[in-house]
């Protein structure tokens, strides 16, 4: 069976399941993906009518983290979510933090070998408007165009998060579609230099380019505060000046909020218009939390948030 046929079966199963839960009235909304402006760009879809489930797509173009929409949609009733590994982790994190009850979400898990980051296509010299489709061949991403299939190599076109991802199968699901091959996370991708002084200069340069469009915050399911500290006038924790040091403060305070919450879906790095390696920063922080407290957010719905509990033998200053 061709790779396209395998994918088509998976998509058919996703659509069948979405239509079933909608028609049965078990859920009020289905969160999924629909076709976007090009073959490697999909759009989040909020579907409430059973016949619209035919709009659903599933391919390497589905990069968004749908965990972002679950809290809002769950207010109106049970939600079904087409969830990749990182989406499902975000949902589990929201359950851990009591933002949504487990029974308010029906997870249509999909095994995900890794999605495309369209901006990286331009660097690889591929014009995305010429593509007619995308699918997977095991771990490899296949790009279809009138000239035939192309396999430029996962490491050159996949979303950065997918290269270091080790949760290709959702940790929690009500039904699982597809079967993810064993994929080894890739090392050494981070552009962050070693050495304290080089790191200080590196981040000073990165955050000087930040334009404070807040896309990194707005696409992040873990950032669920109603009023963000960056928008608060009193107390004014971070200044509204769009300047190097204030940008640094915004990003570092947000990172500390993400410690123990960030599921490394990489959306912040993908959507950043000026290309700041935010995922690499969050991964370093996540590694510290994991090393200190053996805690990976969004893996086990029963686990307690890492900063909400403590142990006597936690590491700390000597008495």
């Amino acid at each position: 069976m061709s790779v396209q046929a395998v994918l088509a079966n998976q998509l058919a199963e996703v659509r069948r399941e979405a239509r079933r839960v909608l028609e049965s009235g078990e859920v009020k909304t289905v969160l999924g993906y629909r076709a976007g402006p090009t073959a490697v760009r999909a759009m989040p879809a909020l579907i409430t009518r059973p016949e619209d489930t035919d709009l659903l797509v599933w391919s390497p173009a589905c990069a968004n983290n749908l965990g972002l929409y679950v809290r809002q949609a769950a207010l109106e009733g049970k939600v079904a979510v087409v969830a990749k590994g990182c989406d499902a982790r975000s949902i589990v994190m929201l359950i851990q933090e009591q933002q949504i009850p487990r029974e308010s979400v029906y997870i249509i898990g999909v095994a995900c070998p890794g999605v495309v980051d369209p901006d990286r296509l331009a660097d690889a010299g591929i014009r995305e408007e010429k593509l007619t489709g995308a699918s997977w061949d095991g771990a490899e991403i296949v790009l279809e165009s009138p000239e035939g299939e192309a396999r430029p190599g996962r490491e050159s076109i996949a979303k950065m998060a997918c290269l270091t991802c080790d949760v290709h199968t959702p940790p929690l699901y009500d039904i699982l579609i597809g079967e993810a091959p064993a994929i080894e996370p890739v090392d050494g991708l981070s552009p962050i230099p070693e050495g304290t002084e080089d790191r200080r200069a590196f981040w000073a340069k990165q955050f000087d380019r930040c334009v404070r469009c807040y896309a990194c915050r707005q696409v992040c399911p873990s950032c669920y505060c109603t009023v963000c500290f960056a928008d608060r006038a009193s107390p004014r924790i971070v200044s509204k000046r769009i300047r190097g040091q204030e940008n640094w403060m915004y990003h570092t305070v947000r990172a500390m909020h993400m410690a123990g919450r960030c599921v490394e879906c990489g959306e912040c790095e993908r959507v950043c218009p000026v290309g700041i390696p935010l995922l690499q920063m969050m991964r370093e922080l996540g590694a510290e939390v994991d090393e200190l407290f053996a805690f990976k957010p969004g893996m086990d719905p029963e686990a307690e948030p890492v900063f909400g509990v403590f142990k006597n033998e936690d590491e700390g200053p000597e008495p």
């Binding site: 976007g36 402006p37 090009t38 760009r41 999909a42 759009m43 989040p44 879809a45 909020l46 968004n64 972002l68 929409y69 331009a122 014009r127 995305e128 408007e129 380019r209 334009v211 404070r212 469009c213 807040y214 896309a215 915050r217 707005q218 696409v219 928008d231 004014r236 200044s239 509204k240 000046r241 769009i242 300047r243 959306e267 993908r270 959507v271 218009p273 000026v274 290309g275």
Partner: protein, 339 residues
């Protein structure tokens, strides 16, 4: 004609008279507009999107004035920048046009903005004409990019055989040609290549006439709710748009005790943009806010100043985290109401 190898020589000559600003990429980041240092090669192609040039006339953060609060000697020192002859080198047609749209807001009416005026006053524009459009470009759908190029002082177009053909439209443009003596007579083939590129630039598969779109954009469009459902409410489509210029004014203390009032970029997509002191917010949800951005660009600005607020650069389409395509919205709006 200018040989591509002579570019740096010409730029050096220009740098003697002007502060030459070009789009330069620093280490993989999208090319941003800044003063060209010797050895910098500005981007002269349309392979990748570049930051909007508005940063040079309306920086993201700009001090307005500082106020000294010592009792008895209260006084305000203005921070209006000094005028400086600036040369914007390599503006794509859409970005060249964006200055005209910015002028409509910042230099018209009873109040001209002194900060913007100071930076815009002695500006010479050198356009670079794109040979091809990227998938998100739609300049020719919202206007005539060739006219926009002719509104500049000078235009650079690829002439093949490793050279550009340089066409001047104003006196200032003519003077630029003499700088550094790098120019040679234009060959027949060069003119033909220029005309072909210009003609291809103006061609568009779909055309949105500004006034027709203005009439068609309606309050109760079903499309607003549909976009709002997936929109994350970030500021990308306004911060990275060359003609979006809303700002916020804030007061803050500086080190040393003086108080600085500054303006900083802001976006109608943010939730507290129109929230008043006593809590009332005329645009509380994303539906109202997405409707406001597109209505302002395609209806209110055309009604106020007669020109479309959009230059079709496609940055909002290319960079939207949820891939909302502005062209599809207009097409849907036109389809529902217009022709």
């Amino acid at each position: 004609m200018l040989a591509k190898s002579d570019l740096s020589r010409w730029l050096a000559a220009l740098a003697a008279e002007f502060r030459v600003v070009g789009a330069v990429s620093d280490g993989g980041a999208p090319p941003a507009w800044r003063k060209l240092e010797p050895g910098d090669t500005p981007v002269l192609d349309n392979l990748r999107w570049v930051m909007p040039p508005k940063e040079q006339v309306l920086p993201g953060y700009e001090p307005l004035f500082t106020y000294c609060a010592r009792k008895g000697e209260e006084e305000i020192t203005s921070a209006v920048p000094a005028e400086e002859p600036t040369l914007m080198f390599g503006l794509r047609p859409c970005d060249a046009r964006s200055f005209a749209v910015l002028d409509a807001t910042y230099l018209d009416g009873r109040f001209s903005d002194p900060y913007y005026a100071a930076r815009r006053a002695q500006m010479t524009t050198v356009a670079y004409v794109c040979e091809s459009k990227r998938w998100s470009c739609f300049c020719s759908s919202v206007g005539d990019p060739v006219e926009w190029v002719k509104a500049c002082d000078l235009a650079i177009t690829d002439a093949g055989e490793d050279a550009w053909i340089v066409t001047a439209f104003t006196g200032k443009g003519e003077k630029l040609l003499e700088a550094g003596g790098c120019m040679s007579a234009a060959t027949e083939a060069a003119c033909a290549s220029r005309d072909a590129i210009w003609e291809d630039l103006a061609r568009a598969n779909e055309h949105f006439d500004a006034q027709a779109v203005a009439r068609a954009v309606d309050w109760e469009e079903p499309v607003w709710a549909e976009i709002a459902g997936r929109c994350t409410g970030c500021g990308i489509c306004s911060y990275l748009c060359p003609t979006c210029t809303c700002f916020d004014i804030q007061d803050e203390e500086c080190p040393g005790g003086a108080i600085e009032r500054y303006r900083v970029r802001d976006s109608c997509q943010f939730c507290d943009f129109t929230k008043m002191g006593h809590g009332h917010n005329p645009r509380p949800g994303k539906k109202e806010r997405t409707r406001q951005r597109l209505s302002h660009k395609f209806k209110y600005l055309p009604e106020r100043s007669g020109m479309s607020g959009c230059v079709g650069c496609g940055r909002c389409i290319h960079l939207c985290p949820v891939n909302t395509d502005t062209r599809k919205i207009i097409a849907e709006v036109m389809g529902v109401h217009g022709q």
